[in-house]
Symmetry: D2
Subunit: 379 residues, 4 copies
Amino acid sequence: MAKKPLNIGMVGYGFMGRTHSNAFSQVGHFFNVPFRPVLKATCARNADRAKAFAEQWGYESIETDWRKLVERKDIDVIDIASPNDTHFEIAIAAAKAGKMVMCEKPLGRSATESRQMVEAVEKAKVPNMVWYNYRRVPAVTLAKQLIDEGKLGKIFHYRAKFLQDWTISKDLPQGGQGLWRLDASVAGSGVTGDLLAHCIDTAMWLNGGITKVSGMTETFIKERHHNITGKTEPVRIDDASLFLARFANGSLASFEATRYARGHKALYTFEINGENASIFWDLHDLHRLQYFDHRDEGRTRGWRSVHITDGDHPYMDKWWVPGLQIGYEHTFIHQVADFLGAVGGGKPAAPTFREALATDLVTDAVLKSAKTGQWESAN
Amino acid sequence: MAKKPLNIGMVGYGFMGRTHSNAFSQVGHFFNVPFRPVLKATCARNADRAKAFAEQWGYESIETDWRKLVERKDIDVIDIASPNDTHFEIAIAAAKAGKMVMCEKPLGRSATESRQMVEAVEKAKVPNMVWYNYRRVPAVTLAKQLIDEGKLGKIFHYRAKFLQDWTISKDLPQGGQGLWRLDASVAGSGVTGDLLAHCIDTAMWLNGGITKVSGMTETFIKERHHNITGKTEPVRIDDASLFLARFANGSLASFEATRYARGHKALYTFEINGENASIFWDLHDLHRLQYFDHRDEGRTRGWRSVHITDGDHPYMDKWWVPGLQIGYEHTFIHQVADFLGAVGGGKPAAPTFREALATDLVTDAVLKSAKTGQWESAN
Amino acid sequence: MAKKPLNIGMVGYGFMGRTHSNAFSQVGHFFNVPFRPVLKATCARNADRAKAFAEQWGYESIETDWRKLVERKDIDVIDIASPNDTHFEIAIAAAKAGKMVMCEKPLGRSATESRQMVEAVEKAKVPNMVWYNYRRVPAVTLAKQLIDEGKLGKIFHYRAKFLQDWTISKDLPQGGQGLWRLDASVAGSGVTGDLLAHCIDTAMWLNGGITKVSGMTETFIKERHHNITGKTEPVRIDDASLFLARFANGSLASFEATRYARGHKALYTFEINGENASIFWDLHDLHRLQYFDHRDEGRTRGWRSVHITDGDHPYMDKWWVPGLQIGYEHTFIHQVADFLGAVGGGKPAAPTFREALATDLVTDAVLKSAKTGQWESAN
Amino acid sequence: MAKKPLNIGMVGYGFMGRTHSNAFSQVGHFFNVPFRPVLKATCARNADRAKAFAEQWGYESIETDWRKLVERKDIDVIDIASPNDTHFEIAIAAAKAGKMVMCEKPLGRSATESRQMVEAVEKAKVPNMVWYNYRRVPAVTLAKQLIDEGKLGKIFHYRAKFLQDWTISKDLPQGGQGLWRLDASVAGSGVTGDLLAHCIDTAMWLNGGITKVSGMTETFIKERHHNITGKTEPVRIDDASLFLARFANGSLASFEATRYARGHKALYTFEINGENASIFWDLHDLHRLQYFDHRDEGRTRGWRSVHITDGDHPYMDKWWVPGLQIGYEHTFIHQVADFLGAVGGGKPAAPTFREALATDLVTDAVLKSAKTGQWESAN
């Protein structure tokens, strides 16, 4: 069963370049997918870095200009894992060149950018997907299944937060290698686009559309040294962002993201309260789902800590044996597996650019509301 | 050391009547306080119920009209444990009669009522206290100490919620014995006054004043049978209430209370994130404090689950031996101990009526904001 | 409903004197029992201490010689809360005097003593009970119900431990006020009688008799200053005691107790694994029961953290409202309630002296096995 | 930096064949190691299975007779991932052929086999290692570091268990594909060699040698259908195995393994109590280490839940960013990284065959003690 090769052209070699490369390398070892991803080329402006990355991951060739990568005939998929300010141009060019496009989240730096990117891929009719990887945590996928089966009943509440603490120090610079997330011109926004976007994508996937929001943001450290300009400059991203929301199904929600929550590194959590059952999940123990079912007998009713490592849990029949957990990187492998399956089956690979645009509409509304002090429409 | 008796006149015989009576009965067994509370009289409109309650708790006499209780010369303290709509009149009359006044929370049904109650006790110069008992959970008192000592450093975030699930059924009536919390005319508001008031009292005690809020409320079940009128009537309380807030110290906050969070009975939680340390507490495991100290060595840094049962924890030297936990009722015993100590020492017993008014100003602002869709000032 | 008084004569004023006195004081406030315990007299060799204790708890009189207490006509119940070396004589004298006898655990310092105590109460036909209070933790009582209903199916494994850390310091003396537990002549044994006895009582209540054991003990600190003799003396108690066991039902067990487990104050835990379900409980969070039911649907199967605060949990309809926890002292109140109910109904009040003897047979076998290096019969 | 290739010859294609193959594939993506493992050949008696496995993992060739694999000049390392009854012959032949040998645990089916295997590799002076992978869980490695640095002080207690529930059903056959662990002739023993061996390896690594043991075993299901013979046959493995032990450093220990602990899939836990600090770890949340340090200030002292995802945790600087967890398979990758580093540096790669023999001496002593009812020497 020699599988059809699918040639990957990767842009970016940082944190996300690694998670994607790993996913392409690993998917065939564990999943029976219709394509065999081939690490054809990686692209970085700095040739030495591109070479080192290519050697480490086994890319066959390098490029130092993404335009050349996009033009190459031997590339089937352009995967964009570079900083946010590059997504727009590359995605549109790739779509025009007829390539499949995979793009790190958030899609654009704003819904304005994202809308054009959606138009480009839809016009070109190329498979497209945004790397909202947390949908593919098995516990989160199970949550989706339980909700879709109606186990929770009518939903009353949704609450999510994404807490980090890595920017508390005043001495941390903005900008430059690995720190572009603090530079608004590159990142677009701060935690709203970086962290809340994840929360919102999951939330709308699980609980449907968000109609309106009331937000509040803060930048705790007003100025930081900028690594590239070499000067102390105003910080223009949001360090913390909270919002209340209404879902179209009537449920109430609160969302929060911050990089100033001491003690939390990547504590993405969500909880959903339905008439009959509730669900809680937490990225720091991503292999567990907390589930409460009110239909259990009263005396022994309690939150169940479900260890998501059994063969009947999503994706888990592909891994080890019950009791043995997987980790963060596996979510990307699952996403590639789903992408390849979707492409092979001629179906859209979720989340599409269009779905990711819906998330950007919410993040834009949050940022707007934080300025106007008003509730803002989110769709 | 024969202690001076302090004669208690209790109004109410429900849930709170029991917690207060227990506190008065128990305080002398464990705390060295300057007074000996004497259960002099209990008061209820229904004489049989008053008698049964008096017999169970050892009250020496009963009254069926609170006005008579207030007039009795042999009563030192009027303790108001009856539904919210009775607080206003009784407290003011008791103050005028020169009695010390202890009042269940919330103080009034609105800040308008509360303000007059404050004026009454301050004019009469009588000791006064509101039963925000959660301040006296040893773990919460320890949190206060740690914050006051500066262990957390600058505070960035405060988040609190109080989740219950007891009103999800459509068949639950409003009004009548034990259900007056669903009747807005008696309760004043729904979860805002019942649950958020607790969260706000603790929050302002720990983190200072709240300046502005943006709120959202919902009444999921619009009509319920009313036990007293015998008719189906509109539900006018809030079933759920969420708000974002700013504290005077610049920190950002989110608060939420609901009676529609399946799986939670009385899950009052708060978390505070400071520059150097963070704290989390949870009423469902009230004898634990979660504490994270960033100054711990990196490799072994983690959230500490502090089992608050040692002699060096607040109040705990009075109870058993390390490892053995206390429960909910003890918070009231601690509050009586503190009240008696304060009265003996000629000091105000916190939280005073004035402090409780500050909480009502916030809850009023939340309810107003939920109607106006605007941020509202909370002080 | 004026209840019949039951006059209590209490021996001892230490930790257990307090828990028992509290139980007698509180039971009538919460439980509908056929008797009203009256704190008639307390007894201690030191008259000042007896007086102070009587004043604090409301005992009507004091004695300084337990023999006089036993002889008093106005005493119905002798409650023995004094150190282990006093149990034997007092219990036998009380039985002979026709008193009901309640005795702190362990019953005697050895099964030899205990056997004679059993004979005395059975000959005198007086109600008798030993304060193995942990049976009356609501979560533990629920465990008993679930097992008796067959929810676990065939039992394969039982494991229990009781971990403390309060004697690690070499500077802690043995003997004298509060430290008699380190003096073998008073205590009988170390952790075997003090801690393992609790584990064994619960275990045999839940899982039936133990047939044989293989034990190991250790005394880490070989000599300590003795407060009474004023000299450094050999320590003759066991600091740690572990044993493997077989139950009559074929299940395998391991037990452990120590006072050298840094980080644990009173971590009594047990776990039972049955064919269909498993149970875990932990004294540090005594208001929770962990329950796993294999019959739950596979995908959402997990350990349930049951918050034992609902009205359908054992004893809990007598306390507060769902979500609000009780603590350690309540187990004694439950035991008094059960004792009074049993006496009122003419039934034995478990655990009887005879049941407690069975526990002592196991602890004796453990100590013997630790010496012989052989498996020893435990019944 | 073109790395020197190291040609792997893999025997086995089951669960362990997958974990090892994954480790060889992944190590170069994350670790800077002196060799580049090349998946040269895989070996299985069934050619179709060998081919399928080779295709899935990228092995260049296959063999159907391990003797041929051992003879191949182009193979540097023989990795034995086949059932226990094959380890002995293959390892000795590989050593004689001068190959490096990596062997799944347990080394032999008994210490008798293992001793000869040790002699073979030591005589041949070939690098050798046994896959006790749990040493390379970052949390476990951190535990080792903390102990070696003296953070715990004198050790009093060690307790470990490994609980599973996969063989409770009477209908599960013994023998055949994936079920050889129930067939004593293949496996050697049951949970003693399969699960306790892991616990013992970790324990002796962390806490030094074990001197004597007292064991107890049970086979709950006495007969099972055998897949290969097609008959119902006696079950000769141990389903459960418990033992008490003494370490050379004087600490006391209890160990337990079973496949009849309902609710646990692979719950390997250990706890170590030292004079100053204690450690707890649990395979079901392998990315956390529980740490209690008595030197913390009393009021805020508590068990720390250390989320082992930071760059200063062992191995974790090679993976993602703080907060993002790794899983089970990574322990094998770490072990390969350490093996390659050791070989490159001319040092032994722990655990060596000799270290694994020490574990087998303990498991043999446990099985012997379970038969004799005596304490047995374990070294």
